[in-house]
């Protein structure tokens, strides 16, 4: 439903046209490619495929935002950038969804991500071979390296001259951000004291002007939508470029069904303003993230595919992973002022790789992370790691010291488990679609990793001269649910995102991840999308799909 007060309801967008009428559709008669979801993956695909001369339609459930009038410097009001439709959550560690890990509207999650732009390491693609945990990807780092290069160049990622971990050591296309915030300074100084290497974070945030966009002004509201357009999002970069190349974007349009014609997909059905419409296409790409993509596949079941589309393996919806993302808030004697500047400006991957001296496999990234009052207060009140609550006088007194707090955040690898899954519930939403149920429980390895990380975060806070006061239990990002693999019996798509079962149905985005890695996923999402785009352009020109 449309629940964003004051947003202009143009739903049809193509070169020279912004219209509130479905009569103005460009590809109503059919397109080459229909992309469901205008987020990190959908934006890259739309641009690359349109540039190659294909007729592309992107269908997005949420609005086409205007940063100047739709975004605000306000936490509470900007929760609307997340997917707010109710999902049921279950398991021992039910996930917080919405603004925490999803996007709704053109640009998807990139509209409110922190812009941290990391590559996965070589080891991330073969955890089974190396550590006997998780599963190997059907590709290796080298298959993705040139796509990481391409995406980072294309959006002018800023970063350090030398990046010490993983296979890529820089330099980044744009110079590192400076100055960095007090919280990031303190983090780096503390790391140095402890002999932990740290860097200024590689960011999809400009350190100098680029394509008419200004460098960051340290407003600090990355999670509420960037207003000066200094931070990358699909909304201001890939989608407008795709439109300029001939693509059509349909916003406020919720895809409700994938249509089949025999063994092939013929298009999708979507709902707009209470009416149903059809979009035919030679190829359909689902880029609706970790919950909506499996949900659509499962909900589109028919007599030929009774368990849902592309689900002969039974893996659709399974193996979803968040990152463990606990926070340690430490109180210092001097002011830190967590609200100032880009929220994340420093990090370390010192603990990223498996270490035989630890009692768990894989690892994590630690991040110096700013916090605004609503996020901090709600978390230290109601999301405490020990399950207790902080309220009344104690909460108010903690928050009176808001400006004295520093914060360190975990981005920890969570291993895939088939019980962590998206399934369909018996409840229906306003479109008559089953409401998804998202089940998640940490496994033993995940818990050990978290315990280790919390100890390190506390050490860092103490090395700042602070006292760790609040440990918050949180998650970030979602991955998996339609994992890629070589074996059609245990994966949903091949290495290019093509479903094993239906040749003209593709899946793009974090849902195809096999493992979660221990760092922010957006760079990998976009690099994979660029790789899929290359493959599709080649295959479609040969009429192979």
């Amino acid at each position: 439903m449309n629940h964003e007060e004051g947003v202009k309801r143009h739903c049809v967008h193509h070169a020279g046209v912004r219209s509130a009428s479905m009569k103005d559709r460009k590809y109503a008669e059919g397109a080459d490619v229909c992309i469901v979801g205008a987020g990190a993956a959908g934006g890259v695909l739309a641009y690359e495929l349109a540039k190659a001369g294909l007729r592309v339609v992107v269908i997005e459930a949420g609005p086409f935002w205007d940063p100047q009038t739709d975004f605000a410097s306000d936490e509470l009001a900007m929760r609307r950038l997340g997917w707010q439709e109710t999902r049921l959550v279950d398991g021992k560690d039910p996930l917080r969804l919405g603004h925490n890990n999803s996007g709704r509207g053109v640009g998807g999650g990139t509209v409110h991500f922190t812009g941290v732009f990391l590559r996965f390491h070589e080891s991330d693609f073969c955890t089974k071979t190396l550590d006997g945990v998780g599963e190997d990807w059907p590709i290796r780092y080298q298959d993705l390296a040139r796509y990481y290069d391409k995406i980072e160049r294309e959006i002018a990622v800023s970063g350090p001259a030398y990046f010490p971990w993983g296979a890529f050591h820089g330099p980044y296309p744009y110079p590192v951000r400076e100055p960095i915030s007090a919280n990031s300074q303190l983090f780096r100084e503390a790391c140095e004291k402890l002999g932990i290497e740290s860097v200024v974070a590689p960011l999809a945030i400009l350190s100098a002007p680029f394509e008419g966009r200004p460098p960051c002004i340290n407003r600090g509201f990355c999670n509420q939508g960037c207003m000066p357009n200094a931070k990358y999002s699909g909304l201001i970069h890939h989608i407008p470029k795709a439109i300029a190349e001939g693509a059509e974007v349909l916003s406020d349009c919720m895809v409700t069904e994938i249509r089949m014609n025999g063994d092939r997909v013929s298009g999708v059905v979507f709902s707009h303003g209470g009416q149903s419409y059809e979009q035919r296409a030679r190829v359909v790409i689902l880029a609706g993230y970790v919950i909506e993509t499996p949900r659509l596949l499962l909900a589109s079941a028919n007599s030929r595919f009774p368990d849902g589309l592309a689900n002969s393996s039974g893996w659709v919806g399974k193996g979803i992973m968040p990152h463990s993302s606990h926070d340690v808030y430490g109180r210092l004697t001097d002011e830190v002022r967590l609200y100032k500047g880009t929220p994340v400006m420093a990090l370390t991957q010192h603990f990223y790789e498996t270490d035989p001296n630890r009692d768990f496999a894989r690892g994590y990234t630690l991040i110096a992370h700013g916090a605004r009052p609503v996020a901090m207060a709600a978390a230290i009140a109601a999301e405490r790691e020990d399950g207790s609550f902080l309220w009344g006088e104690k909460l108010r007194e903690s928050m009176l010291d808001y400006n004295l707090y520093a914060r360190v955040t975990l981005v920890g690898e969570v291993l895939p488990h088939p019980d962590n899954a998206v399934t369909l519930s018996d409840l229906k939403d306003e479109y008559g679609l089953p409401i998804p149920k998202v089940t998640f429980s940490y496994q033993e390895n995940d818990r050990r990793l978290i315990k280790h990380a919390i100890e390190q975060m506390k050490r860092i806070v103490e090395a700042m001269g602070g006292t760790p006061e609040h440990v918050v239990s949180d998650t970030a990002h979602l991955m998996g649910g339609c994992r890629m693999g070589k074996d059609p019996r245990s994966s949903v798509v091949n290495e290019y995102g093509q479903t094993h079962d239906i040749p003209n149905l593709f899946i793009a985005g974090a849902s195809t991840f096999v493992t979660s890695g221990g760092g922010n996923p957006t760079n990998t999402v976009m690099a994979l999308a660029a790789r899929t785009a290359d493959k599709l352009v080649e295959a479609m020109s040969r009429r192979d799909v």
Partner: protein
């Protein structure tokens, strides 16, 4: 003695002419909150206000009015809840049953509704609800008191720390567009930011 504000002279609202229009419009509404509600009846609204007042440890009517208005709007709204734990009732039921449960617990313990309890008694009732150690099991048959407490605390605290008076209390610089922050490093502040009272 209650802890003092570090920035007694700071008023973030004084900066509002430097904010963008959309942000200003959002924040100014909070300063003039309504007392008419769509979902809660007047008794529920009063009860909710008293509970929230204990949760955030604040008695300023203008702040509490805004919190209750915000809760009322979000409970009444058809906008989704982002997530709802299996077994937890939908938001309207949760609030309706939870408020009734708090009042029932007050009567069970002190033979009197929550509103007429002493501060310490109100705190004791909420403590019991937060721990799930309620005496009136019947009132909580379909709703776990801990689930209710967690949801209410999260929602109330989110609204409380969105009020500009509270931003001023804690020295939060608040909205910063279009001007941004120039001095972000350790020990530096822009001229308009809160300055602590030196002891």
């Amino acid at each position: 003695m209650a802890k003092q504000r570090r920035y007694p002279d700071y008023d973030v609202w004084k900066e509002n002419d430097k904010w963008d229009d959309h942000t200003r419009k959002i924040v100014v509404k909070r300063k003039a909150a309504q007392v008419e509600h769509q979902f809660f009846d007047p008794n529920q609204a009063l009860l909710l206000q008293a509970i929230v007042s204990q949760l955030v440890n604040d008695y300023r009517l203008e702040v509490l009015t805004f919190i209750v208005q915000h809760l009322d709007e979000s409970v009444a709204s058809p906008i989704g809840e982002a997530q709802r734990k299996v077994g937890v009732p939908p938001k309207q039921e949760l609030y309706r049953q939870g408020l009734a449960g708090v009042d029932a617990e007050s009567r069970k313990r002190y033979k009197s509704g929550f509103l007429s309890l002493k501060q310490e008694e109100q705190k004791a009732v909420l403590e019991a609800v937060s721990q799930g150690e309620i005496l009136d099991r019947q009132a909580w048959e379909q709703l776990s008191p801990v689930d209710f407490f967690k949801r209410l605390l999260y929602d109330a605290v989110s609204a409380y720390y969105s009020h500009p008076l509270v931003w001023s209390d804690i020295g939060y610089g608040g909205p910063a567009y279009p001007r941004g922050y120039v001095r972000v490093e350790k020990g530096l502040t822009d001229p308009w930011e809160a300055k602590a009272n030196e002891p």
